[in-house]
Amino acid sequence: MNFKCPVCKKEWNSSLQVARHMFGTGDKPHKAWVDEQGKTQGFTFIDLMIEQATTPGNKSYVMLAEVIEKAQDKL
């Protein structure tokens, strides 16, 4: 199945790709969406990015991918 970017509605076949796209784009609307989700779950866009940058592996992206997956129904 395809996953949509909750902001610009571009599609990829993996939610991880959408997460990567959101970090890569990093413009105000994409940032705002991530920050909004983080309000209840205790993260911000920049926290996730720094976490991704300073630790090995792909934890932040995987975490955001899960959030994106959950949000698909509402898009």
Partner: protein, 773 residues
Amino acid sequence: MNKYTVINPHSEFKVINTHIHNIDGMAKVTGRATYTFDVKLPNMLYGKILRSPHAHAKILKIDYSRAMELPGVIGVVTGKEDTLGIKQGIWRRYQDLCDEQVLPVDKVRYIGEPVAAVAAITEEIAEKALDYIDVDYEVLPGVFEPLDAIKKEAPEIHEGFERNINVTRHIEWGDVEEAFEEAEYIREDWFKCGGQAHMCMETRAAVSSYTPDGKLTIYHSNQSPYYMQGLMAGVLGMREGDIRVISTYVGGGFGGKFELDGAIFCSAVLSKKLFRPVKIVFTREEDFIATKRRTPMFYYVRTGVKKDGTFCAREAKVFTNGGAYTGMGATALYLTGFFHSFPYRWKGYRYDGYRVYTNTLPSTSMRGFGAPQAMFCSEQQIEWIAADLGLDPIDMRRKNSHHEGYEVPGQATIASCGIDQCYDEIRKWIKDKGKLPANRAIGISACGFMSGGIFNWFDTPYSFSSAVVTINQDGTVELFVGAQEIGQGSNTTLAIICAEALGVRVEDIKVHSGDTDYCPPDLGAWGSRQTLMAGNAVKMAAEDAKKQLLEFAYAQSGYNIVYDMDIKDRWVHAIARPERGYDFGELVKKAIRGKDGQKIVGRGYYTPHRKGMISPAYSYMLQGVEVEVDEETGKIKLVDSMTAHDCGQPINHLGLIGQLEGAFSMAAGYGYLEYMPYEDGKLMNPNLVDYKMIRATEMPPANIAEIDTYEPEGPYGAKEAGEGLTNPTAAAIGNALFHRFGIQMKENPIRPEMILNALKEKKEKEQGKKGKK
């Protein structure tokens, strides 16, 4: 003695790759070439720039009334009073990244940033006047290292850039986690790569002349007159066509001269205000502290391989010290991640790059464009992995290398690749050396590089390269190109391509470049664009002109198929019977008469379409160095070197050697000499005595084996030469030290004290082990 050998030469050419000296050599060696420094205009003033002594400060007030009282001072400009305050950058397509006001309006972000500029009747008076300008600053806390700048409590350098993160870049293919799981051995390392000054022989310089009719002419030392024209139009609120940029002779660029600099901007603003020509030439110190530099980088590299040396996965995270403004640094951030995968096949590859603002000199593109940093880390770690697994490092590299037809997933297609033969040549060189003296060792490193970037951040509607060929009635040829000669020999290369395509000699061609009023637009001399991109445009323009000529030759000869005829070496002839023919000049005269007296004009243009993310073609190379080490002082000396290089079809034999030797010397400097130490944002060695460049006496022999392949996308099969070779040498030096002592150099330039410390540490470890026994 240098040795030069050619493997697989192609020989069907009349002009290409023959022994041709630079066409502008005579003008240069006789001192007749007019560089910006030599330009003098009637009524000209001299400008000087006042620079910030603070790394981070608000500009509260600038009072220049005392300076204006100094006899000979004609005018002063400031960001607030005399500019539109427009934030500029090459990223016209991405306005967020246009973050620099060359004369800032309210805040300075690095030591040396322009604050005001003075014009006076002499340079000395202008310089003196700087002392009489009073600036009130509110000094702000500064931050100088990227890993400090991303901390929560770090000062904010640009508004709205949280944690000072300027740009991020991501590259990924394959299932990286799965590929790591397949690996039987994983190694992780952190590296620190230093900055490097471009060190052009001609420092930044500009002469601007604004006339009351609203036209601006600028003589300027740069790598892309078209960029300068467009950028200046943007910051001055003018139309591009009202600005003429002239850069006929340029004394080097190396990636540092295709952004607006203080010289061009301040001279233009002064000239607009005063209606007189204004000249600004940077001193060497200004060139060090107030232009941009090679990007310093922190590199985390994790690599997974199988026990037999098969590469599985690689992950890299990079923090670059971006300095105060973006410049070309965002592209360097992407390319370092891309070339970090080169020249190998990875099942899974992931790169995350973070460019971080700091209160230091902005960092940008420089010869190699991010790849020298990438190769320093990659090629050393590969050597260490081979040692860890007890494998031959050359065999291991070779087994995983790119090859013709390989696709870097989603990024690039490799249409020509001679790296296999490069390995053969390097092997031969090592074998011929035999046993080395005890204080010497050999290190090698591999690399691949692009032939011009497929990037249009400038958002140009024009072709990336274009050329116009006109033929005079006497058989001489005018070649108009936007490609910029900066000393690398591009005018000669393009003249050779034009002569070959048209069937004349190089001395028949007059190249016109570096003048936006007469030359068609071209994105300029960066990313190894010129031979492939401008070369394709020139070939097309020359072939267009030739086709028009042959129409007349065909009509006159009575042959019934136009392609039965050709022109070679000024001889118009039937291909099947080359002895039957006549002179090129005769044909030209007839053709002009036949066209009702109109000159023959050929047009060519080139923009790569559907050629991947990065570049239409890639060069490949291997660098070997023989290094001698003094264990007492830690000093290293390069004793010998060997380059095995694939640039497709070489166009200019002499130019090629010059480019490769030049790249090697710059790369060696980056590897072990050229050091830029900062203290609280202040560069500690901004002069030629303390900043150590490699000198002629320190250059080892530069032996070159040229492996000629054929690149389908290049003109006559040509691709990049001379930038890519800046990439592998630092790692090769590190690898030589590893082989000599078993020490691992994770920082460059590799300075004597680092070698001594590593040796000491190693000794202590060994003694510790003995003690435990």
